[in-house]
């Protein structure tokens, strides 16, 4: 589904990503973790072309992201993305947040888009809030709406960029529950997150990044059982102390 | 385009234009200094706990900010000269246009300066006044020694930007037939039938001066942001 092949990126002389390669197969859940500044957010933004990269290649469903001839908007409409700060559109009601892209990008009718939006809103347990505005919801609720908004587009895969790190601790689980459910239904997912509980529960593979390099790329059990790099061992030990 | 440019009347007129520029600068500098002083007073009055004083300052600022500068200058060109003459028993032929222009600009600009300064004073945390009082300072001491120095530091770029605006606005004294830089350029252009060239020249001079100054202000702002 997603192929990342020897991707490198730098801002001026600062190297953000170095020779990153990995694959996410259809139906697979891959968790990307690592200390802050390790390049994991940048990597996931490269996957749908939100960040340009200078070397290497990324393909999603066989389509090259870096190719200037690719219609990026069309590709992005098929890849769902969830952001750290939710990024709901504050001037629109929840319903409009869910339907705007369906109408303007996919060309669905207003009724169709609203119906689909409500169905997914119900799924994340927020149907009662359909007519509210984002600013009137809690962080956890906003993030669930953001997931529903991405799902409205019938994505072939989902990208999560630290979806719980801006949330108060008591709201993290409501968001993780939705993500776990999604994973169990067979959605292809690439998640940048520090939630190791989530990784243990649903991940097929775990990628560990440090200083722009993919240091570990292993099955879940191998990673949690015996990470072979010292840096990953330190990282896991630190995470456990929290 | 079939206009034949002829820039030859500019070199000879340079001394006259320079005299005009001196008038423009003179008005700007006077109005900036007086505007800041009077504006600071107005801002302090407006923030003062004595209600009538605060009302007076608010009324003054709002009135001047809601009428056009042109209108203020018309008042000062038509009415203030008479007042000045009768008040100081001046000879009716004394030229008081420059003086009234300066007073007009100063009174007008002080309303704008007062708003900048008020925002600056309010940007200083309330705890600073409390700390100063705790040290035994009076209100005016706290203002003078603690609040204003901090406020002015933050305001310098805004005050300078306002000075650039004021410098541009001084071109309006053209209405009183006073030969400031723009008035001088217009006169030369009119005399030689070369208005096109003189107006373009005046525009270019203003642009170079104001653009350069605004770049200096921008650099200053950046440097202050990093300190």
């Amino acid at each position: 589904m997603i192929t990342i092949d020897k991707v490198s990126k730098h801002y001026g002389s600062f190297q953000v990503l170095t020779d990153c390669s990995t694959k996410v197969a259809k139906g697979e859940v891959v968790v990307v973790c690592g200390p802050s500044g390790s390049g994991k957010s940048t990597l996931i933004k490269c996957v749908n072309g939100l960040e340009p990269f200078q070397a290497g290649a990324i393909t999603v469903d066989g389509i090259s992201v870096g190719d200037p001839k690719t219609n990026l908007s069309k590709l992005r409409s098929r890849v769902g993305m969830v952001f750290q700060h939710f990024e709901l559109f504050p001037h629109m009601s929840i319903t409009d947040n869910l339907s705007i892209a369906q109408e303007k990008v996919l060309g669905r009718s207003k009724d169709e888009a609203r119906a689909k939006g409500l169905k997914l809103l119900e799924r994340v347990g927020l149907k009662a809030h359909a007519e509210k505005f984002p600013g009137q919801l809690s962080g956890g609720q906003q993030q669930r709406v953001a997931i529903a908004r991405a799902l409205c587009m019938d994505p072939i895969c989902m990208l999560f960029d630290e979806p719980t790190s801006a949330l108060d601790p008591e709201m993290i689980n409501e968001v993780l529950d939705v993500m776990v459910e999604l994973a169990q239904e067979g959605m292809t997912m690439m998640c940048v997150t520090h939630e190791m509980g989530f990784a243990r529960k649903v991940a097929n593979r775990v990628i560990f990044m440090d200083k722009g390099l993919i240091v570990e790329d292993d099955s879940k059990d191998a990673f949690f059982g015996a990470p072979h790099s010292e840096r990953a061992r330190q990282f896991l030990a630190k995470i456990l102390q929290h | 385009m079939n206009y034949d440019f002829d820039w030859s009347s500019i070199p000879g007129a340079l001394p006259f234009l320079w005299d005009g520029m001196k008038i423009s600068l003179e008005i700007t500098v006077t109005a900036v200094i007086f505007g800041i002083v009077w504006g600071t007073l107005l801002a302090m009055l407006r923030l003062s706990p004595v209600k009538p004083l605060a009302w007076f300052a608010a009324g003054y600022v709002n009135l001047f900010r809601s009428i056009p500068l042109v209108m203020v200058l018309l008042w000062f060109f038509l009415i203030v000269p008479q007042l000045l003459r009768s008040f100081f028993n001046l000879d009716p032929n004394t030229d008081v246009r420059l003086t009234s222009a300066m007073i007009g600009f100063a009174l007008f600009e002080s309303a704008y300066y007062s708003e900048i300064i008020r925002a600056g004073i309010q940007s200083v945390p309330k705890g600073q006044v409390a700390a100063a009082s705790a040290l035994g300072m009076s209100y005016s001491q706290a203002m003078r020694l603690v609040v204003l120095p901090q406020a002015f530091r933050n305001m310098v770029p805004l005050l300078l930007t306002q000075a650039i605006v004021l410098f541009q606005d001084t071109s309006l004294v053209y209405m009183s037939a006073l030969a400031d830089f723009f008035g001088a350029a217009y006169k030369v252009g009119d005399r030689d039938g070369r208005l096109v060239e003189l107006l373009l020249f005046a525009g270019a001079v203003y642009f170079v001066l104001c653009f350069t100054l605004s770049q200096v202000v921008r650099r200053l702002q950046k440097r202050m942001a990093t300190v």
Partner: protein, 246 residues
Amino acid sequence: MSYQWNWSIFSSPVPTGETTYLGWMLSGLQTTVTLSLCAWVMALALGSLMGVLRTVPNKWLSGLAAAYVEVFRNIPLLVQLFIWYFVLPELLPFGLGDAFKQQLNPLTQQFLSAMVCLGFFTSARVCEQVRAGINSLPRGQKNAGLALGFTLPQTYRHVLLPMAFRLVVPPLTSEFLNIFKNSAVCSTIGLLELAAQGRQLVDYTAQPYESFIAVTLLYVLINVVVMSLMRVVETKTRVPGYMGSK
């Protein structure tokens, strides 16, 4: 000093007899309002376009918009007005300038020059406000729009601009007020707007105080009306749950 106050001057007929001095004053008010509104529409359209260009990821376009702003901000309004009115008609190609000077009546010439001048002058300020509005939005908003499959223009249209415009209503209010005040500068090319009518009244009636007080009050009135209008706009466009609103 003895000054003979005479407020009834406004109801006396003007020398040509077709209206009263009050009529002059009102026609001046009408010109000021029409001129300012036309120029404001132009400034909003041009300023928004330039404001968007200043934020696009293209060096040439954003540089062009930046230069535009600098030109209109660093030349005095009066000089700009004279250039539009006296210089431009001389330089227009294909006889357009001659057409402007010979076929349009002088009043239309003055009005057009004044409108274009105020429009461009104010658009540079609107541009800066729109740019500031767009830049004050979280960076993720643009990414969120793009990630949903919007093209860059769609992202501006549906995501960035609606929010940016709401944020800049207060600063745009003060630009809107400024355009009415700045329109008084246009009396210098002979346009008979409010300030010019006030001046004319002084010449004809020798009652400067009444005339100037009336004009000053009318400007204050415009100010009050515009401010209350914009307050309504601000309330109407307020986003629930966002910044100080409920």
